[in-house]
């Protein structure tokens, strides 16, 4: 999860933060880290770039990007396993 937090920091240019500053279950948007709609698009890019995962439905966004833990769970569930 620490790697994922670092990737989020790098992707979103959150240069004031370290992985330790982001709680596993801390909300990422609005009252939490205060991310915005452009950040949401960057998180989609992050999933695609680092994990080759495309969000199957835009409606899933709020659920998937609720916290670092929910993103990690989505990655685990959707990462392709070698045949």
């Amino acid at each position: 999860m620490a790697d994922l937090k670092q990737q989020i920091i790098d992707q979103l240019n959150l240069q004031d933060l370290t992985p330790a500053d982001i709680g596993d279950d801390q909300p990422l948007f609005v009252e939490g880290l205060g991310l915005d709609s452009i950040d949401a698009l960057e998180l989609i890019v992050l999933l695609q770039q680092h994990y080759n995962i495309k969000l199957s439905s835009a409606d899933d966004g709020p659920k998937v990007f609720r916290s670092v833990r929910t993103i990690a769970e989505y990655i685990t569930a959707h990462q392709q396993t070698p045949a």
Partner: protein
């Protein structure tokens, strides 16, 4: 109606130096000079890191220009305008975005591929809602901006405005902005004329070229 306005502040940033009101204000040290300036001024505005260099320069120069002066205490949000100009539009962000397209296009870079975004960033930061405009010239055209802003003032579209030149091209960056106001009690400041703007520009530019290391900050 001809409204009398005054130039109540000025700021120039280039070659690692910040000049405020034609006096040396700060030398920015570090490889990333704009971020060094942000840290030295202790702005505490994390969105700064997400901006392109043009908007970073706009935010930095506006912070120095206003110097804690709450314009909103004197003017309605809708009466504070921003009129900017530059030579290279958003070319710096355009090129970075184009490079990102080779892999996966970056939404965060894309949003900065218009030069007037920097005026928007200034307005978001300070809560201004007045008339905005951006013009592209080969070099600073103080006479044109004076004519345009005077028109806005005379039509009472704005009561105060941040105006000037903010340009970024590769390693070169240059900001020269000034604050135009109409409130009572500022009669001691220079009257807003194109000649006085040119004078402020030359004084500020002279301080940059003189590389005076004595700063107020």
């Amino acid at each position: 109606m001809n409204r009398k306005a005054h130039i109540t502040a000025g700021c120039m940033i280039m070659d690692n130096m910040i000049i405020k009101d034609a006096k040396p204000f700060m030398v920015m040290d570090g490889d990333d000079t704009l971020t060094a300036g942000y840290k030295a001024l202790e702005l505490n505005y994390p969105k700064f890191y997400k901006m392109d260099r043009l908007s970073k320069l706009a935010i930095l120069s506006t912070e120095v220009l206003l110097g804690g002066c709450a314009l909103k205490d004197y003017y309605a949000d809708e009466k504070i305008g921003v009129t900017l100009s530059n030579a290279n539009a958003s070319l710096d962000a355009d090129e970075r975005y184009w490079q990102s397209v080779e892999k996966i296009a970056s939404p965060a870079l894309f949003v900065y591929t218009l030069p007037n975004i920097m005026a928007g960033e200034i307005c978001i930061r300070h809560g201004f809602k007045g008339e905005n405009a951006h013009f592209v010239f080969e070099q600073p055209d103080h006479a044109f901006l004076h004519e345009y802003v005077t028109l806005l003032l005379n039509r009472e579209a704005v009561d105060a405005a941040i105006c000037g030149w903010i340009d970024v091209c590769q390693d070169h960056y240059e900001a020269f902005i000034y604050l135009i106001e109409t409130r009572q009690g500022i009669e001691q400041y220079p009257v807003y004329t194109k000649e006085n703007i040119q004078h402020l520009y030359e004084l500020s530019y002279g301080k940059i070229n003189g590389r005076s290391e004595a700063t107020d900050h």
